[in-house]
Amino acid sequence: MKIWRGEGSAGEHVEYVVPIDAGMVVLDVVHRIQATHAPDLAVRWNCKAGKCGSCSAEVNGAPKLMCMTRMSEFATGEAITVSPVRTFPLIKDLVTDVSFNYEKAKTIPPFKPKPKDPDGKRRMYQEDVDRVQEFHKCIECFLCQDVCHVIRDHEENKPSFSGPRFFVRLAALEMHPLDTNDRLDLIRAKHGLGFCNITKCCTEVCPEDIHITDNAIIPLKERVVTAQYDPIAWALRRIRRTGPALPAPSVPPSKEPPSA
């Protein structure tokens, strides 16, 4: 196994040869190398069950969770390359600084619920919950953020693009039956939905099988079209003010989002 070793941006792949046992995953092998050859090897992990989202890396160039990638996927004797995720600055070996994501998370206006029903309760219906449930499976592994070419290949887009993980979050809030915040203009102007060209790599790598592009991004694009680009929707809004069939007019672009 060839593992990326180095601090900051300098480094190289170092080859380690270790025996493996049946049933091992890539993370087990990394741990074995740590135990036998490289005690100072930096690697982030936590649950070893694909649930904490810590062990993201690139195995033979494919963004994956190391704890969910079985060694049996590879041919016997095949060299396996393990690299840190590329989109975020390197700290050491396989560990990167993912604070870009936490900064982006802060710019999303939080859930703002409708007033309670007269009996003092809030009600949601199953069919409405079902749709947003999928988005809540996200484990924040940031593999989708890593693979997204908008920021992976174009560092300069980082200030104007939040990335697929946050489109999932925004979709969950926008489609929430009780939420009253309107984030559509923000989604276009600040989170950069238009940068996404729906090439679906985020969906391909998501370990939680969230249909990021089809169920979050494209429906958001359609909502933004109604709010910003569709001339008939615009005319109908002018005539009916806020029609029941169309989302409310968008927030002016200059408005800064309240922080989360």
Binding site: N60, P63, D128, H149, G194, F195, N197, T213, P219, Y229
Partner: protein, 245 residues
Amino acid sequence: MVPERRDLWWLEPLVIVVVLGTFVLYSVYAGLANANYFYEPYLSPLYSPCITANCVHPHLPIVGSYWNLSPAILIVAFPLAFRVTCYYYRRSYYRAFFWAPPACAIPDARKSYAGETRFPFLIQNLHRYALIFATLLLAFLWWDTFLAFNFNGRFGIGLGSLLLLTNVVLLSGYSASCHSLRYLVGGYLDSFHRASLRYRLWSWANWLNARHARWAWASLVVVGLTDLYIRLLSMGVLTDLRIVF
């Protein structure tokens, strides 16, 4: 940076270039040919609706006989706009032709990238209008299919009738599985409670939409094959297999 992927990531873009490229070249040839697009009772889907007076099988001759070029030129914009702005085809040609990106975790070909934030890509946002026009065209294709079972006043089934029927079913499935349609029939709602019809329509659209790519490819290939079959019949290369009752 050099990509580390060693699998056959280039296969998918290559297949897309070949299939899409073949279809585009064939339809340019067939659309400009202005001949062999009708063979009683079959009209090629590339020429439907036929809106010129000079057309061999006019539907609505709203364009006078001064138009001597192929009637397909006048209508091609509608299906073309629908496919070009389709979310699925966008994914495919951005990958295969623009290399943005050619495959996941393989670097983009260009240094700068603004996605769909600027003209001309901003126009992609009007896909729902292309959907509306494509749906209107579908009505003509269903009518053509209905006529394709009528052999001089007698009901019959030919290989051409079956091809036209398959074609129109696939094209209808392609439109019905459209992402914009899924939004317009109910996806725009935040709550489906008290909107049970829209909920049901949205659920069906979801089911179809999950298979949108398959509808897209199948309908593309069958449109081309249907035209080719009618063309070969009309050129006398093939004879139609048919049973007339």
